[in-house]
């Protein structure tokens, strides 16, 4: 028992969490005693402080900090020979591990777990909305349900699931043995369950779950019940997780590409994650800031947003949307990368306009910073600012359109294999174009004034995030399933999953455009009789949509356990991750691959992307630029083995 309390793991985590809570109790109560407050014990203050101390204690207990603490205290650190890499049995996924492949699976499974919870919350409030009046839950619970639905889907699913897929696939694609900072990578994963559990726990505290939307607009959130504090702090953990992962991706992409892989020979998933990570690093501190301000207003009475005390409630919206609009791109750009891989591979064609695909990603992230106030066209801000924000928002349609057209160009003249990932890619293009169209419409100020904060907006962002992002996630999961698990998924179940989702998705979110245009506000527990028929239809479709996820789950679990053994390269793709066994060896590549060409040279006679032998000594006849690249890449690869150790 004592030994299990000393070594990292769940026992030590539980024990140190209890200590963490006692620390919070002593700290708060002690301070109140010393300062002579009348009421010494304030459970709300203790809970607020323990929301920080208990998770930190958990991170220590599970083992995220062992190496750093040993190093910090001058003790000999454990020699990191990566002997604990890889997962040998399923229990290994529940322990601290620095292998990017294990972390990738941990990420994907955790985020899908919270996706299921978020989906079930949606089922409950769609049941409530099946008819006007109140059916099953009261108004406060309803507000809590849709707020946690959005918060879980955004912070615990959309943003991190892409990080999970990239965590698994990207180092393999780049020809790297792991991410640049494996311990940081593990830490950023373990932030996630903390954030998710904290958001879910808010349902059981007095006053119920946070009920101010995922936007948590001040001043409503300042005086909301305690659940709001859970959201504010959970958002910090989720945000820290994505910032740390983004730094990790940036360093990995910049320094750990295989010899010969120049930026212009990098697969588009690498480009997509490069662009996304830039966005995360620059934007996410703003949402952290906005939630800290809310927390400080609530806990310490800072009055940032209280007009009566000279505060400014609209400032909150600016800071919040300065992150949360780029967040929309954080939630879809990696999907663009996935779709480029999927279409090129399954249509067996080079990506059309590869460089423009990369440039359009960069154009989107630059423009993405200049559009945030389009969420605030009806908010109290200067009228003139709406015009430039409208024009920049509409301009984003241009690089996005370039990507859509290039995907069509990639398919044109190909040999299209209609496997499950390709179904999702087709579904993605059509649904995402619809979401993009309603997005351009919402950018138009006079129209936005009429439909802002109605169900039209709800329909729009579900077409973008569900029909857009989630479809790319499904495409990516099916596409890399053989690589991750070493098993093939079931094609016909995959197609059933697609068709059921595609149809019920349109049944759920299509009619929301109509009720929104007619003036049904969003985030309401009750609505006028005129919207009753459509809402019943929407609710029933949404139950089918919920059921369609069960097919996916069954397919994944069953195929992982007993699907047919997958070959190394079932799709005959050219990128590096398919050139190793499924699942890949413990250190990804037994010998370092050398990249000699572009990743998508389907149909080019004799073209190769990567070859597996030591880079040949540079011969004088080779052109100067190529010589430089190879040399650079080779040094980069040498460096990785040493940086690995001191991360």
């Amino acid at each position: 028992m004592a030994a299990s309390l000393r070594s990292p793991g769940w026992y030590r985590a539980a024990f140190s969490m209890a200590i963490g809570w006692v620390v919070a109790f002593v700290l708060v109560t002690g301070l109140r005693l010393i300062l002579g407050w009348q009421q010494e014990i304030s459970w709300e203050s203790i809970t607020t402080v323990s929301l920080i101390t208990v998770p930190v204690a958990f991170l220590y207990g599970i083992g995220c900090m062992d190496y750093w603490l040993y190093w910090l205290s001058g003790k000999p650190t454990k020699v990191d020979d990566h002997a604990d890499h890889g997962a040998r049995k399923w229990q290994d996924y529940f322990h601290f591990n620095t292998d990017h492949k294990v972390i990738g699976i941990q990420y994907i499974c955790t985020t899908f777990f919270f996706f299921l919870i978020g989906g079930m919350l949606a089922m409950v409030f769609r049941a409530e909305l099946i008819a006007p009046g109140m059916q099953f839950v009261d108004a406060q619970t309803f507000n809590g349900l849709f707020s946690s639905h959005a918060a879980l889907m955004i912070f615990l699913f959309m943003v991190p699931v892409f990080a999970g897929i990239a965590n698994y696939v990207l180092p393999l694609m780049l020809g790297a043995p792991d991410m640049a900072f494996p311990r940081l990578n593990a830490l950023s994963f373990w932030f996630l369950p903390i954030a998710g559990v904290m958001m879910c726990l808010s349902f059981i505290v007095p006053g119920g779950a946070f009920a101010t939307g995922w936007t948590a607009y001040a001043p409503l959130s300042m005086n909301a019940p305690m659940g709001q504090t859970f959201f504010s702090i959970a958002a910090q953990f989720a945000g820290s997780s994505s910032i740390l992962t983004a730094i990790n991706f940036l360093v990995t992409i910049i320094t750990m590409r295989a010899p010969g892989m120049t930026f212009w020979r990098m697969p588009l998933l690498g480009w997509a994650n490069f662009a996304t990570s830039l966005l995360v690093v620059l934007a996410t501190p703003f949402v952290a800031g906005s939630q800290f301000m809310i927390l400080f207003d609530r806990a310490l009475g800072m009055n940032f947003f209280d007009a009566a005390q000279g505060g400014d409630s609209v400032m909150y919206q600016h800071v919040f949307w300065f992150y949360s609009h780029p967040a929309v791109y954080i939630m879809v750009l990696p999907g663009f990368g996935i779709i480029s891989e999927v279409i090129s591979t399954h249509a067996r064609k080079p990506v059309f306009g590869y460089r423009m695909m990369a440039f359009s990603l960069l154009a989107i992230i630059v423009l993405g910073f200049a559009v945030w106030a389009h969420h605030m066209f009806v908010a109290p801000m200067q009228n003139w600012i709406r015009i430039p924000m409208m024009l920049t928002t509409m301009l984003i349609a241009v690089p996005t359109g370039v990507k859509v057209f290039s995907w069509l160009g990639t398919m044109w003249g190909g040999v299209i294999h209609m496997r499950t990932p390709m179904y999702w890619a087709f579904g993605f293009i059509t649904m995402f174009v619809l979401g993009g169209i309603s997005g351009v419409m919402l950018a138009v100020v006079p129209f936005d004034i009429a439909v802002s904060d109605t169900y039209f907006v709800v329909a729009h962002f579900h077409y973008v995030l569900f029909g857009g992002s989630l479809f790319t996630i499904f495409a990516g999961i099916y596409h890399w399933f053989p690589k991750m698990t070493g098993r093939m998924y079931n094609e016909s179940l995959g197609k059933w999953h697609f068709w059921l989702t595609f149809i019920s998705f349109n049944g759920t979110f299509g009619p929301q455009h109509l009720v929104g245009l007619e003036g049904m506000p969003r985030r309401v527990a009750d609505y006028a009789e005129q919207f009753a028929a459509w809402n019943m239809f929407i609710s029933i479709s949404s139950f089918v949509l919920g059921a369609s996820v069960l097919i996916f789950l069954y397919n994944m679990i069953y195929s992982w356990r007993s699907g047919p053994i997958a070959p190394a390269n079932p799709w005959h793709a050219h990128t590096l991750e398919w050139q190793v066994s499924s699942p890949p060896p413990m250190f990804n590549f037994d010998e370092v691959p050398t990249v000699v060409g572009h990743p998508y040279e389907y149909g080019v006679p004799g073209a190769r992307h990567g070859i597996f032998k030591e880079p040949e000594p540079v011969v004088a006849t080779v052109g100067a630029p190529a010589e430089e690249t190879v040399a650079e890449g080779a040094t980069g690869a040498d460096d990785t083995s040493s940086t690995d150790g001191d991360a």
């Binding site: 309803f142 359109g401 044109w412 003249g413 059509t430 419409m441 006079p446 985030r523 149909g603």
Partner: protein, 264 residues
Amino acid sequence: MKASHRIVGIVGAILATAALIVFTIEYDWMGTLIADDMEPIDTVYRALTIASIPFFIIICAILAFCLVEFRAKPEDDDEKDGAPFHGSTKIEIVWTIIPTIVVMALGLYAWTVLDKVEAAQPNSMTIKVIGQQFAWNYQYPEQDIKTGGDLVVPVNRPLYFEMTSADVIHSFYVPSARVKRDVADGFTTRIRFEPNKLGSYPIVCTELCGIGHATMRSTLRVVTPAQFTAWVAAQKSAKAPKPTGANTDPQTWPGAFKNSESSK
């Protein structure tokens, strides 16, 4: 693919485009419009939809064509590749420039519409709107009236609203006039419109404001000038004793408070 199939496909796409455009023009998307000067907003919606239809149909048609024409045949080797072309600078320039022109043109058009629908009108009647959890209060400075009841206004007179909030942020939305603006403590926001149709129309709050958000509704009653004068007189005589509160008109919002106890 046979030539006859292609013709059927192209004709089908053109017919679908035409049908959707006709439907867009004819269908009553946003319900009753009571303010004639807000008509351009409905037109903007239709213009945007009509501009999007060909774009969407072309993408669907290309996808369908690829699916039929370029689909792998059962006899194809798994490693058979498509044609190795990598792009075309000309096409890429075309599909960058054309959408840029289209969205910028639509943006400039929307700008002129915005200026038009928000332009101040002479002889406007000012009404102050104060949002509070969970009711709308109105003040008529010209008539010196305060009410928490219906928003009663005379027909064919331009209205000018100066709005603020007593607590959290709300949003004042009149669907039948296509106008909406947030109200926030510490700010005064302004909207305008001119009602041209008699009758009762819903007013709703569209910014999440707490437990009673869903039922924070009010009614806009557009009446004749004579009725308005009578209503003003009645309000003035009943001013002192009558306590005001959130009002609901069961005819406008049937079912609104069906179970209001549970939502309180």
